[in-house]
Amino acid sequence: MIKDTSSPIGSILSRAGVEPNEVAELVEAETPEDMYHAVVSSSFDADRLDYVERDRYMTGVGAGAIDCEWLMDNVRVAEIDVSPAGDNGSDAAYRHSFCLLYKAREAAEDFLLARYRLYTNVYLHKTTRGFEQLIAALFRLIAESVDRDEPLDGLEGDHPLMKFFSKNGETIENYKALDDVVVWGAIHRFAVAGRGATQEIAQRLLARRRPHCLDVQISFPQEPELQRRLKRRLGEEFKEQLNDRVFRDVAKLSLYGEIGGDDSRAQKRLMIQLPDGKLKEITDFSDRSIAQSSNERQFERYYFLNESDYTRAQAMVAAIRGQ
């Protein structure tokens, strides 16, 4: 959208003397090229500093206050190794990024913990994720219908959602047409004139009726073997219904946020600058008050549209517990 010449974003940037393509490249880059990339994507990027305070305020979550002024006072730029961890620096690739001075270490710990709590309390909350699963399922049903070239009850063939999911339909123009009003309008139509799963999901969304949730980790806290057994049994039992009436949601979280691949991105590591100028990862201090950043917390939930399926799943939990 930044590169799109018809978009106002590009012209706003141009008027400010900034080349839109350079901004787009900065946002797209996987590996930091310079310090400006750190403003967009780093352990201490502008987005994080903004949402940690704003989302906490807007959602009313009590945990997670940060000392933004003290953090800003102590931000410095240093050369950070952005190579994957594991080679112990033998093939290091250095780029300028942000770090924090040692005296801001406690504030930095609070900052990481605040983000972590936002993830556990808000972004990965079972209700939030449950409704996300419903929306994703609805979109999937539309896409499948378009792919089969079948009409979908409740939605005309030229509706922006149908256009977006059509072959080669993922254009910026079609994407821009998908605002809240268009999507909610489609949900209203499915609720009235849809059929089967599309109608059921749309009605749930409108009535804020969340799907039944079975949380694997909460079923067996601190018992990974039992969690795995439950997961396997659920996978076998609901193989046919998966993505239809039953939805599986998996997320992993570390101190650095949600993990979407091999590891947290190298540039997201929070490095502390010691008085001699050397850098040290924030969880490598013996007197740290936060967990190791390599610790991963798993979130795995099964969501059910039907109560009968949910009851069967609960019976599996009880059977594994030996009740």
């Binding site: 994957p84 594991g86 091999d262 040290k280």
Partner: protein, 164 residues
């Protein structure tokens, strides 16, 4: 049916250092004809398999292999997967000379070179990007410098899966 990861770790000398290395090794093995049974998608370190990550977690939880936590000299943590080399179960596919040579070549490469090699292959053959070299530099930036791109291409040539 997917490959037995502890057997892979044993065949690789009993130790594979880092998640990125493990993921890219399995991806490249898949490309040279080992039916790994995993599907891959593109993440920020290149081709990545959720299924493989899940199988590895299972293997660690059920103590079929170990995951040791270590730290780089700057304190950045990473994981080392270890498997007892005394055990010989289900290692036939990796005992073939070509596979063994491939494992050796990958173990002698850095994690960044493996990341680049897997990404080059992905760009050229999966995404079918015409100018994959330019795209590689655009995505990986500094990581392609200091001879690493050339090393990654040499590795792909050794494995006989280099793009033209």
């Amino acid at each position: 049916m997917s490959i037995d990861v502890p057997s892979l770790v044993r065949a690789a000398g009993g130790e594979i250092v880092g998640k990125v290395r493990l993921q890219k090794m399995v991806y490249l093995l898949d490309q040279i004809g080992v039916p790994t049974g995993f599907s891959f998608s593109y993440h920020h370190y290149g081709p990545y398999s959720d299924e493989l990550a899940e199988v590895v977690e299972d293997d660690v939880i059920f103590r079929r292999m170990k995951a040791e936590r270590r730290r780089r000299s700057d304190g950045v943590p990473y994981i080392v997967y270890r498997a007892d080399t005394a055990s010989t179960a289900r290692e036939s596919v990796f005992a073939q000379p070509r596979m063994n040579a491939a494992l050796q070549a990958m173990q002698h490469s850095s994690a960044t070179v493996l990341e680049l090699a897997a990404t080059i292959h992905w760009l050229a053959f999966v995404e079918k990007v015409g100018n994959w070299k330019a795209e590689l530099v655009r995505r990986k930036g500094i990581k392609t410098k200091e001879g690493r791109e050339e090393k990654a291409l040499a590795l792909l040539k050794d494995l006989q899966i280099a793009p033209a």
